[in-house]
């Protein structure tokens, strides 16, 4: 908790020079229907700076071959760039060892890896898994599949009207059958930053491991997996200024070693015969087949780029954007903000009285403003707030205060159309 709060109120974070940063992102120069693009859908996917694009081009132009196989120059160049990317990711999330960083295709793939590798081996009939109301479908559905297969039960942590987890209720859900906790670090639908460190400590005191879905946290705040002491931490590259098709599962080495492989194939084996196959060591045991090499290397370049700006500076700037947008939106009659947690990341989910979110989205698009509309793959959250959908503005460090103003005036023009 304290680490997260510190990230939101850094004392010495240098201010962000937004105009200079925006110049790094070619796509931000786009015009939509003659209007400058105001990209506020960063929680769905972030944009890519020129440095990452250049790294991908350099890799494809002069470094590409399959990795871990041949002895020729290109194969060794590609292998070493791929493993260097793993080390960059390790340092970015402060993992103890590089072998604790497994490349996956994304957060969903990472969570499915935990479900198959850990869940199917260690969770049995009658066991219980604790999830939260805030979870993205990707941290619900795999566990429902496992629960159905094994005869296990899912228990759900409720939230209050602000969109905060009820920690007292969380603690009451534990019993001798609790085998795993799955919790998101930052809510994609509401922006709530959950007190995961405190929740992990509570679970560990009862011998229960914790999987953290960090897809919305890693791009926005300093994450230290050792400080959190989480057992698993999953996130995606494309929300982190990297390419699609790449993500990370962090797992404590001892846990990863105890798990069964998820996918079988090349690279994940030590030796194969029809009598017996010996699996490779971690992380390779979980990276069957040719991985997305270019995407992993691109993600390495993305975390270099973010680190150079500084996650504290990023968190401070995004917090300023959120505060400004929240203050203006709160004063607008007929606009309701969903998710008013004390500790929030820069996600602003809202509804406009008398206007369906899809109409809000289409009309904002007409002003060049890109927001997400829908249920945000978090239908239990929508059910909790009794709305079918919301509009969601989600900010990144390259957004400016002028873009906050564009959002607010866009919402005003939506209200005018429907007046």
């Amino acid at each position: 908790m304290s680490a997260v709060r510190a990230a939101f109120h850094p004392r010495s974070a240098p201010a962000i020079d937004v105009e200079r940063i925006r110049a790094d992102f070619p796509i931000l120069q786009l015009k939509i229907d003659g209007k400058p693009l105001v990209y506020l859908d960063n929680a769905a996917s972030s944009q890519m700076p020129q440095a990452v694009i250049d790294r991908l081009v350099r890799y494809q132009t002069s470094e590409h071959a399959n990795i871990n196989r041949a002895v020729h120059y290109l194969s060794e160049t590609a292998t070493s760039a791929y493993e260097a990317a793993r080390r960059k990711l390790q340092h970015f999330i402060h993992a103890r060892e590089e072998r604790e960083v497994i490349f996956t295709s994304g957060t969903t793939d990472a969570i499915n890896l935990v479900m198959h590798g850990y869940g199917r081996k260690f969770i049995e009939a009658g066991d219980e898994i604790i999830l939260t109301t805030l979870e993205h479908h990707s941290n619900i559905v795999p566990w429902q599949m496992l629960a159905e297969e094994k005869g296990a039960t899912i228990r759900v942590v409720p939230i209050n009207d602000a969109g905060e987890l009820l920690i007292d209720e969380y603690e009451k859900l534990f019993n001798e059958r609790t085998r795993l906790v799955g919790v998101m670090h930052v809510s994609n639908a509401l922006g709530t930053v959950n007190p995961v460190k405190q929740m992990i400590a509570f679970a560990h005191a009862r011998g229960v491991p914790v999987l953290v879905d960090g897809a919305q946290a890693v791009p926005h705040l300093q994450v230290d997996v050792q400080d959190l002491d989480c057992d698993f931490y999953a996130f995606s590259g494309h929300k982190l200024c990297g390419p699609t098709g790449i993500g990370v599962l962090y797992g404590k080495a001892a846990l990863l070693e105890s798990m069964q492989p998820f996918k079988g194939g090349g690279d994940m084996i030590m030796s194969v015969s029809f009598e017996k196959t010996t699996y490779n060591t971690i992380p390779h045991k979980f990276e069957a087949g040719t991985p997305p090499i270019a995407a992993a290397i691109g993600l390495g370049a993305a975390v270099d780029y973010l680190s150079a700006i500084g996650m504290d500076a990023i968190a401070a700037h995004e917090h300023a954007l959120l505060s400004c947008a929240t203050a203006q939106m709160t004063r607008m009659p007929g606009v309701r903000i969903l998710g008013t947690a004390a500790n929030k990341a820069a996600v602003l989910s809202f509804t406009v009285d008398g206007v369906h979110p899809h109409d809000v989205g289409t009309l904002l698009n007409q002003e060049g403003v890109a927001v997400r509309t829908g249920h945000h793959c978090a239908q239990p959250v929508m059910q909790r707030f009794k709305v079918p959908a919301t509009s969601r503005a989600s900010f990144a460090f390259y957004n400016s205060m002028a873009e906050v103003d564009a959002l607010i005036s866009g919402i005003r023009s939506v209200q005018k159309v429907f007046a």
Binding site: I32, D33, V355, H356, P357, H358, D359, T362, L363, N365, Q366, T373, G374, H375, M382, P388, A389, V417, F418
Partner: protein, 166 residues
């Protein structure tokens, strides 16, 4: 790029605000539910098919209700106005023409029965909103065939059943 403002014309905003034929229908002979899971649009269409003096099936009454965006609600409202009193065959033709128009396959200059419904032609440039406009029409089609529920997503249900050439 399309002028989106063209879509939110006065007639659409008016039907959204004051939907016609909104509500339930006593003793409906046919009804169906339409659902678009992506945006949560959810409507029901109920109608009474009666035989006219020439023994042709006619829509004697039709209502809709539900929760949806402005495009879907206005489309449903204008649909009920357009097909009320028409023969089933004429309504089926209109369904085909509307679906063709929404997906950009109808030449509005060739003979058609679209009339005022042409205000929805703009959705063809907004692929994510096409489903909003056509949900009521799929649901009407489902109702004719007495299919209990319709969806714009599941491939096996009536929403994906072939409707003419559209």
């Amino acid at each position: 790029m399309a002028d989106y403002r063209a879509l939110y014309q006065e007639v659409i905003l008016d039907h959204n605000k004051k939907p016609r034929n909104y509500g339930t229908l006593e003793q409906a002979s046919h009804h169906a539910e339409g659902h678009n899971p992506l945006c949560g649009d959810h409507i029901t269409v109920a109608l009474n098919l009666e035989l006219d003096p020439d023994c042709v099936e006619c829509i004697a009454g039709i209502t809709f209700q539900g929760e949806s965006c402005a495009i879907c609600k206005a489309s449903a409202s204008m649909m009920t106005v357009a097909v009320k009193g028409k023969t089933r065959a004429d309504a089926e033709t209109l369904i085909q023409e509307f679906l063709a128009m929404a997906t950009g396959k109808l030449d509005l200059n060739s003979p058609n029965h679209i009339g005022r419904l042409a205000v929805f032609a703009g959705v063809r440039d907004l692929p994510t909103r096409v489903k909003c406009a056509i949900l009521p029409w799929h649901t009407l089609h489902a109702a004719f065939n007495s299919v209990a529920s319709a969806s714009t997503e599941a491939a096996q249900d009536a929403m994906h059943a072939p409707i003419g050439n559209a």
